[in-house]
């Protein structure tokens, strides 16, 4: 029973990791790739670490896996946000069929220099 639960959790995690990496490969734009891959891969890795927690129970290793899970849950969106901001500031254009760029409008309204594009 315990083994089956661990295998199911690992299966969910591996499947979401694969979906995120396919999104990283297939989507057309830095921002699209960032949002697809960050969300899916974070979700998948969280499920893999939950499988470690179920497998080892509340021993030292299980608590370490829980801490690693919480850490990834906090740091991964932070890193993705910093990366999107850095990419926008370094002047990477949006995909040509993207319809709106609110961040650029805000930066122009705030008197900041717009990114060097077009």
């Amino acid at each position: 029973m315990n083994e089956i639960a661990v295998a199911v959790l690992f299966g969910i995690g591996a499947a979401f990791d694969l979906f995120g990496c396919i999104g990283l490969l297939r989507l057309p734009d830095v921002y699209n790739r960032l949002q697809a891959s960050t969300k899916c891969v974070t979700f998948g890795t969280i499920f893999v670490l939950l499988g470690v927690l179920v497998s080892f129970g509340f021993s030292t290793t299980g608590i370490q896996a829980l801490l690693c899970l919480l850490f990834i849950l906090i740091t991964s969106p932070t890193a993705a946000h910093a990366l999107a901001r850095g990419a926008h500031h370094s002047g990477v254009r949006l995909w040509k069929r993207s319809v709106i760029d609110r961040y650029r409008e805000d930066r122009e309204k705030g008197g900041e220099a717009p990114p060097a594009q077009e």
Partner: protein
């Protein structure tokens, strides 16, 4: 059960190679940085899988360390892309 774990290892290997493909082919520097970030998180999951299949707990410690270093490296690269110093 061994077959299931073989499948999970193969899937995570495939994920690592997809990330490496994006690092090799990415047209701009932010593409490569995103792929490096994702590769770090996938390797954390890989270490967790190794901890369960080998039954040794220290792989989870490696996973914690790897996630820390990956986060710090990604923040440093994002600051570099933004064109600022590391202390601003």
């Amino acid at each position: 059960m061994e077959i299931a774990f073989t499948v999970f290892f193969s899937v995570l290997f495939l994920c690592c190679f997809l990330c490496l493909w994006r690092i090799a082919r990415g047209p701009t520097a932010p593409d490569r940085t995103v792929a490096i970030d994702i590769l770090g998180i996938v390797i954390v999951g890989f270490c967790a899988l190794l901890a369960v299949t080998t039954g040794r707990g220290f792989f989870v410690t490696i996973a914690i360390t790897w996630s820390l270093l990956s986060f710090i490296g990604t923040i440093a690269l994002a600051k570099y892309l933004e064109g600022r110093g590391f202390d601003e």
